[in-house]
Symmetry: C3
Subunit: 249 residues, 3 copies
């Protein structure tokens, strides 16, 4: 009971749910799962190419992915997620439930979003970025207009829940945008911003937690949190952490 175009290129061992639609010009990598009520290869007439999805994608039910995008391996989408046209997305992207990737943008590898995140057109998101639920990257400096200035989010940045990153604003590497923050100016690497309007309140090294009776830095998070990342990657993070500790002495 699926409607799958004969022109779609379906890899080996790809599984489909029920009531799935796959358009022409779609390529789905080996070992992928496309769940029920999903529409893969949707066209709004603005796509500049076909849609390529890498290996082992797990597309949850009621997801919509447009033509014109290139998505790496190990994609995961939550239910009701939308990925629009002409997006360049790396490996292991995880789009939360109801997340809207507006298209015409670039996302690196290992980026994860919570539910109902929106990433506006023109955004440039690095790798290993976390964007928590209900946060949005907006791009219109003088609404309404057609001049698009997407935010830039550098590697390892963390954007808390219910935050807004303003048009053209740069979120530095390893920085932290607090929940509820409306980030209206650039945030340097390893700094914290909070509030509406946003205020830079200093380095992420201020944020500590206790483990085994010792105070430790919460950030950079990659030195302490590894769940879901491949071992080779975690090993490089641990090496990096060791070097930093030596420098600290």
């Amino acid at each position: 009971m699926n409607v799958i175009s004969e022109e779609a290129k379906i890899g080996k061992n790809v599984k489909f749910g029920n009531f799935v639609t796959v358009g022409a010009g779609v390529s789905i990598g080996d070992g992928s799962i496309i769940e029920s009520y999903s529409y893969i290869g949707y066209s709004n007439g603005r796509e500049r190419s076909e849609l390529t999805i890498g290996k082992r994608a797990h597309v949850r039910s009621h997801t919509i992915i447009y033509q014109g995008s290139t998505i790496g391996d190990d994609l995961v989408t939550g239910h009701h997620a939308i990925i629009r046209e002409n997006s360049q997305i790396g490996d292991a992207f995880q789009a939360g439930t109801g997340t809207v990737v507006m298209g015409e943008l670039t996302i690196g590898s290992y980026v994860k979003t919570g539910s109902n995140v929106e990433i506006g057109q023109g955004s440039i998101v690095g790798s290993f970025v976390w964007i928590f639920l209900n946060s949005t990257l907006i791009n219109d400096r003088r609404p309404p207009s057609s001049e698009i200035a997407g935010p830039i989010v550098e590697d390892y940045a963390v954007i808390g829940a219910h935050a807004v990153v303003y048009p053209g604003v740069r979120v530095g590497a390893d920085s932290l945008v607090g929940s509820g923050c409306f980030l209206s100016q650039d945030l340097p690497p390893e700094q914290i911003a909070v509030g509406n309007p946003s205020k830079n309140i200093g380095p992420t090294s201020k944020i500590k937690y206790e483990e085994d009776g010792q105070k430790k830095n919460v950030y950079p998070w990659r030195f302490r949190f590894h769940k879901g990342y491949p071992k080779e990657l975690v090993d490089t993070w641990l090496e990096e952490a060791d070097k930093v500790k030596i420098l600290d002495i």
Copy 2:
């Protein structure tokens, strides 16, 4: 593979996707597109009439439209949008992805919303209004209650992202509600409100941009932004702009 009631009145050249449901008592205008997984003419038993959708509607996939509403020509819905019962909606309404029009309300013509906007019951929204993503019009002064006081939004008003307009509050014509603003009191025409709790910070004429080395007013936006509006309408806006400039001298 669609379930379309034989009692529905379908115009000429209407196209359907796959797995579409259309109930009885639905009238869809000529040249419309109803995409896959949409449910048109949903009934919750509270509708006071049938559902009429004008010409050239473009209903994106996974949309739900209830019985009891009258919607003008050139409707566009984003995926997962919902328009509930007993809504009076003008021409060229564009409901963003996941937007929820709660029903029992009035919306003028050429109103556009971003993603995940909610317009509460009892709201009165004028024409040419923009409501950006994640913003909501709420209506319950003493939650929980059944006393509904919908906000009123006048023509050409712009409501930024992640804003909330409080029950019974009036948003004046040509005004600007900043992103993240919780508007708890009436905003006069051509004024700006920001913050939570909201503060009126003066006339929209304060907001300028540079073009060709000249400072120009961003608002009223209709004097500078015309994309997607019909030429005849834009011509009247340009005439109006000319008159205002003459008065300025």
Copy 3:
């Protein structure tokens, strides 16, 4: 045109829409309605049991309910709602449109949410709780991490629109979290919190309304608002209200 597992236990007089999926290991109580495009008994491999839904459930279109949860009688879901695995949910739960119940949590009876609410894993929500639209209960103290600290929301609490309750924070019985509040510390019973960061601004008894020329308390709301609750329950609330008035003298 439905895909219903033969191993599912379907009660008497259960009605199905079109394009419905029901997995194995699902039990649906008598008199329930499962609308179109819904997926009941979705599995992500993490469920610890089967899915049991009580009597008279009304599951609106495009809803997804995972295996592993136990849900009482009189469930109502809005369109696009999601209830994930291993949730213990009482009677008469009403999940608004697009609400995401993240699973691994406990919800009492007669809990109602607005649209696009998210209740994080590990949350403990009492009975008769209201959570208005776009509000979320989050659970990660040091994002990203895997240490989950769900908020606790006690009976009769009201959480306004666009609010965030922080990890591990307790919302006291009969309290009020204002709209837009980011609640970062425990709120005692019958108190009001507002703002970001949140501030306790005193007892709910400060909030009055006029009826028949008399000033009355808005809260506890159960003394004045009864729509949708069973008569026996309302009677106990009225008795309680009478006693409180006597004590007041």
